[in-house]
Amino acid sequence: MNPYELTIAQAKGQLIAGSLSSRELTQSCLDRIEAVDGKIKAFLVVNSEQALLQADAADKMRVHGEVANLCGIPLSIKDLLCTKGVATTCGSRMLEHFVPPYDATVVEKLKGQGAVILGKVAMDEFAMGSTSESCVFKVPENPWKPGYVSGGSSGGSAASVAALECPGSLGSDTGGSIRQPASLCGIVGIKPTYGLVSRYGLVAFASSLDQIGPLARDVTDSALMLNAISGYDPKDSTSVRRETPDYCTSLVDGLHGMRIGVPHEYFGEGLDPEVRAVVMHGIDVLREAGAEIIQVSLPRTDYCVAVYYLIATAEASSNLARYDGVSYGFRDQDARSLMEMYKETRSKGFGAEVKRRILIGTYALSAGYYDAYYKKASQVRTLILGDFNRAFEQCDVLISPVVPTPAWKIGEKADNPLAMYLSDVLTISANLAGIPGISVPGGFSRDGLPIGIQLQGPHFREDSLFKVAYNLERGLGLSPQRPKVT
């Protein structure tokens, strides 16, 4: 087996045993990127030189007895997490030449453990999209089928992991942006509870919804990565001060005593029959593992998309006001007045989807419309959280599909924003409620496209998600199937 094919846990084992060095592993990933990324188009920047230096440093740390969680493991980073001295573009012209003077807390944590940063990966512009097609530099392709979307907005993260360019990646999830691409690319992606992982150094999209999380090839690797990045950070005022458990202790066989809820609203109209069949099979597997399966209801599910596209756009219109051409980012140098500079800078620096969302958000917050749109949406959000709280009185974890369909062709939904928004219907409620959600590979469509299964749990119960996800993965026994990318 080539080193680049190893999972994080496998690589860790070999690194500790001394049969593999981080330099060999890193070089193997770099060679793999060189060989396949021309087709996959996941990486915006590959940091070969720095990565190899970090690998050598990790090998030295190991000689001195250092066995930190991710020491020597090469990873890719979504291009909205600040990396000191390395461009962080957010997939946008606006930040094409932005080189952050500091590291995001999660990047600092990875580096502190001796992880190797291979490079930055593509994403929808400012994380606004479901296919990564709004990235202005390149559009990643699904490693399972050329010409198909890898999902979004963390499409580069998912594609890089699925194409075996790296064993793990950090992404961010505002309405499904980790779980949806993980599902479409056949890997594991977890959106942690709001507040579990510091967002300092994450370029903000919608601050009450954004959360950083890992994408990896299996559940064990996801737990290892979440261990590495979670915890309180005084630099993020929404970060929650509490002890974080070792998620690997949740990876045990058997689900006796656990109740899994099936929300019937997630199995309604528009759900592809193949996706439904995969999730139903997953439910059987969990029952066999000892879980009790019960029916639950989340009655406001049908309103989540409307709430999300008001709250997310309102917050985005405010967050993106900072791109004014003054202190960093793109500036239209021909403008003569200040107002002209603002307008031309923003009109030339932002793409169509970003402008659309800024306009919706500005409208929803503007005088005379605030109560009808933003306040109303925030009130319905309270009702949605209430639905989840009631469901979690009856069960420990919810099971559902992640995306209503397998991956679609690049360009297929690009002209219809509302159709694109509606494809997020099954993932955005977790962001609205702030609860954790994970996508686990569940099977394949007849066309060979991956289909994921989503698990959602109460606030800060990632441990329950990992336990159920681990049993699901084991029970499904999907032998490691990998896309044939050459």
Partner: protein
């Protein structure tokens, strides 16, 4: 119509965006579709419901008042599209 072309133009000004005539037409039609869709929220009675601001309530996040290192000026200016070594430079305001 949930939104008119004139309203989109007004909102674009508030958002400091300049839209071409073509963009204005497309955006008006797309915003109209989206804003018509979200009116479905009116089906729900929300009288007396507290609006939710954060998913997990954290009351005042204070920290100790210690002086820590901050960015040096050179680093803070390094990404500016126009600066003179001391300050950001913008077109004349007054």
């Amino acid at each position: 119509m949930a939104i008119t072309k004139e309203e989109v133009e007004r909102v674009a000004h508030l958002a400091r965006l300049h839209l071409s005539e073509q963009e204005l037409v497309t955006m008006t039609s797309q915003l109209d579709t989206i804003l018509s869709y979200v009116t479905k929220l009116n089906e729900l009675d929300t009288v007396g419901v507290q609006p939710m601001t954060h998913a997990f309530s954290v009351s005042n996040a204070f920290r100790e008042d210690h002086v820590l290192d901050s960015l040096v000026r050179e680093e803070a200016l390094a990404n500016s599209p126009c600066q003179n070594g001391e300050t950001f430079v913008v077109p004349k305001i007054i």
